[in-house]
């Protein structure tokens, strides 16, 4: 509040290119893993890689790393409520088979 300037330091160029490289690597990895027969693990692994990629985009490209706590509250809230929606809906479908 004290200063009259947003005064956010631009991130270094190399951080963007390293992130891009990592994203490319993870894309190749996810395609490679997709072709392996991992049974029930294939989706969790694919989603895990996607989460890492999304985290890279959020922290570096979207400057999440330099953002205030409120931005992180919003990011976590979006994940929390998405999990609630998917999880509770799925709980209904999964547990339907339990009854005799």
């Amino acid at each position: 509040m004290a200063t009259d300037h947003p005064a956010h330091q631009p991130a270094s160029l190399s951080s963007y290119f390293i992130t891009f490289g990592l994203l490319m690597f993870l894309t190749i990895l996810t395609v490679y893993v997709g072709f392996q027969n991992l049974g029930a693990w294939s989706t969790p692994i694919a989603l895990g890689i996607a989460v890492i990629k999304a985290a890279l985009v959020v922290t570096i490209f979207m400057h999440g790393l330099n953002s205030g706590p409120l931005t992180w509250v919003i990011i976590l809230a979006s994940m929390f409520f998405l999990t609630i929606m998917l999880g509770l809906m799925l709980s209904d479908y999964v547990s339907r088979g339990w009854i005799m």
Partner: protein, 265 residues
């Protein structure tokens, strides 16, 4: 235009600073409010796509075998190519934001133009895929045809027929009683997969098209030199939006294209 007006706040106010709107006290307050507004909007967007992801999750759980089989008929190469193109556009967008932070209007504009070029390339590839799906009757509508197609495609895989597709003109309808209950159900489930595929990818594409409109306006202002280290939140906000669209694709790619990849071998 009004929606973007919050983003593209032109210099019409004459209080302390040319870029400061009358109801804010400081530039920092204005910058923070604009940025936070965009994040809050993205929160809404997450739940917007979330509804479709929920439908996907439930049907994937219920009909997992057919979903994997259906996923196999999407072109992984084109999907992967599009992933690379979109991540490239995210990189150029990040560079555009960085240039606006340092007050380099020319390169802000240039990187934004490049972002749009990649964006159009993505949509070009996407529409090629959709056109192909239409040709082989995988478009989920009354004309959707799955059962024979799946069998024919499977035969081709086993006999090494390459990518030539069976002639679909004279095949019977999916509601044909010959298929039996099981065949009809599988056809419906495959159609559900393609419906979700089209809903998700076209909602994603719609977001990109809206993005083009806003980026065009911001590019214009960037070349005019409207942005400075004091005031660049429109560029930063469209950047956030674009990266979000990228993130959605990062999830769509494995969930739609790679679902049944392991069945190929």
């Amino acid at each position: 235009m009004s929606a973007t007006n919050e983003l593209v706040k032109d210099a019409g106010h004459a209080h302390h600073h040319k870029d400061l709107a009358h109801h804010f006290d400081t530039l920092e307050q204005q910058h923070d409010a604009n940025l936070l507004g965009m994040w809050a909007f993205l929160l809404t967007e997450v739940l917007f796509f979330g509804g479709l992801f929920a439908a996907y999750t439930i049907y994937r759980y219920k009909y997992s075998a057919v979903f994997e089989e259906a996923s196999n008929h999407l072109d992984i190469k084109l999907g992967a190519l599009n992933t690379v193109i979109l991540i490239l556009s995210s990189l150029t967008m990040a560079l555009a934001v960085r240039c606006s932070q340092t007050g380099n209007g020319l390169w802000t504009g240039n990187w934004l133009v490049l972002t749009m070029v990649f964006g159009f390339a993505f949509l070009g590839v996407k529409s090629m895929e959709w056109g192909h799906d239409y040709k082989v009757r995988l478009m989920p509508g009354k004309d959707f045809f799955w059962w024979q197609y799946a069998k024919a495609a499977k035969d081709m895989h086993t006999h090494g027929g390459g990518h030539e597709l069976p002639d679909m003109k004279n095949v019977k309808s999916d509601t044909n009683p010959e298929l039996g209950v099981k065949g009809r159900q599988e056809s419906e489930q495959a159609r559900l997969f393609y419906l979700l595929y089209f809903c998700m990818t076209s909602l994603h594409a719609l977001h990109m098209i809206v993005g083009f409109g806003i980026i065009t306006i911001i590019t214009y202002y960037a070349y005019k030199g409207a942005y400075s280290p004091d005031y660049y939140s429109p560029v930063e906000n469209i950047g956030l939006y674009w990266h979000f669209v990228d993130i959605v694709w990062i999830f769509l790619f494995p969930l739609l294209y790679l679902l049944g990849a392991h069945l190929v071998h």
